[in-house]
């Protein structure tokens, strides 16, 4: 895939970190405000997709990235399962999805028990998944047009 003009590239250089940071903000504040893992993860993926779109890419590097993203995605899902499965192991109630951490006070950043943790792994998962989808479709397109 080819890159775009100098204008898009420069703006991407400046804006991609900002978009990424905003995605992190949305994920971390998922239990306090609208948003959360999925929405934030999509924003994170947008930063990466913007970079790929504006700077262009070559097939081998895309394939390499796909491997890493797949790994990240599965690790994140495993993290989700482990966090929610810990309730089965740790607590005396043996409940899946048990909120076993102290929930704190409403409105604070550090509150909500396991929900922020789950938001973070969901965010990583969604980011990896959407970037993977994008890369996979790009790879297919390149294969088809060649």
């Amino acid at each position: 895939m080819q890159g775009m003009t100098i204008i898009v590239k420069k703006i991407t250089q400046i804006m991609a970190p900002v978009i990424f940071l905003f995605g992190l903000y949305v994920i971390v504040h998922g239990h306090l405000s609208p948003g959360g893992g999925f929405a934030g993860g999509v924003i994170l993926a947008a930063a990466f997709i913007l970079q790929i779109l504006s700077f262009g890419s070559i097939l081998p590097s895309l394939r390499r990235e796909e491997v890493w993203l797949e790994l990240l995605e599965s690790t994140a899902v495993m993290g989700f399962l482990v966090i929610s499965g810990l309730g089965l192991l740790l607590a005396s109630f043996r409940i899946f999805f048990l909120n076993f951490i102290n929930r704190g006070t409403v409105g604070q950043l550090l509150s909500g028990g396991i929900i922020p943790l789950e938001n973070i792994v969901v965010g990583a998962e969604v980011c990896a998944a959407i970037t993977t989808i994008f890369i996979a479709l790009t790879v297919y397109q390149d294969e088809v047009t060649q």
Partner: protein, 113 residues
């Protein structure tokens, strides 16, 4: 009530597109329209006029009428599922294009039944 009917109409428009259109991409778009209509319907199911956003913090009192948050959670899940199905459909469509060189469903007829 009219809004619900319009929603159902949108659903039917999507269904029409799925049944009638011959282009793979147009079929996918029609499916997406159907999905949006269902999502719209769900969000209206949970809507209460003059209801607050269902976030509890210091400013919002706990007593006021809240919009039902459950349909919103359902929609988020449905959107994620829709993302997965749409991307899988697009991937298959691209692969089909690679095999046949066309998006026209009349020319993609390897299977008879």
């Amino acid at each position: 009530m009219i809004v619900y009917i319009l929603c159902f109409l949108l659903f039917l428009i999507g269904l029409y597109g799925v049944v009638v259109k011959r282009n793979l991409i147009k079929i996918i778009i029609s499916l997406a329209i159907m999905e949006y209509s269902v999502n719209l319907f769900l969000i209206m199911v949970g809507y209460i006029s003059a209801g607050q956003a269902p976030i509890i913090n210091e400013e919002v009192s706990r007593t006021g009428p809240f919009v039902d948050p459950l349909p919103q959670a359902m929609i988020l899940t449905a959107i994620v599922i829709g993302l997965a199905t749409t991307s899988l459909l697009l991937a298959i469509a691209i692969r089909l294009y690679g095999k046949y060189g066309t998006f026209d469903i009349r020319k993609i007829n390897h299977l008879k039944g």
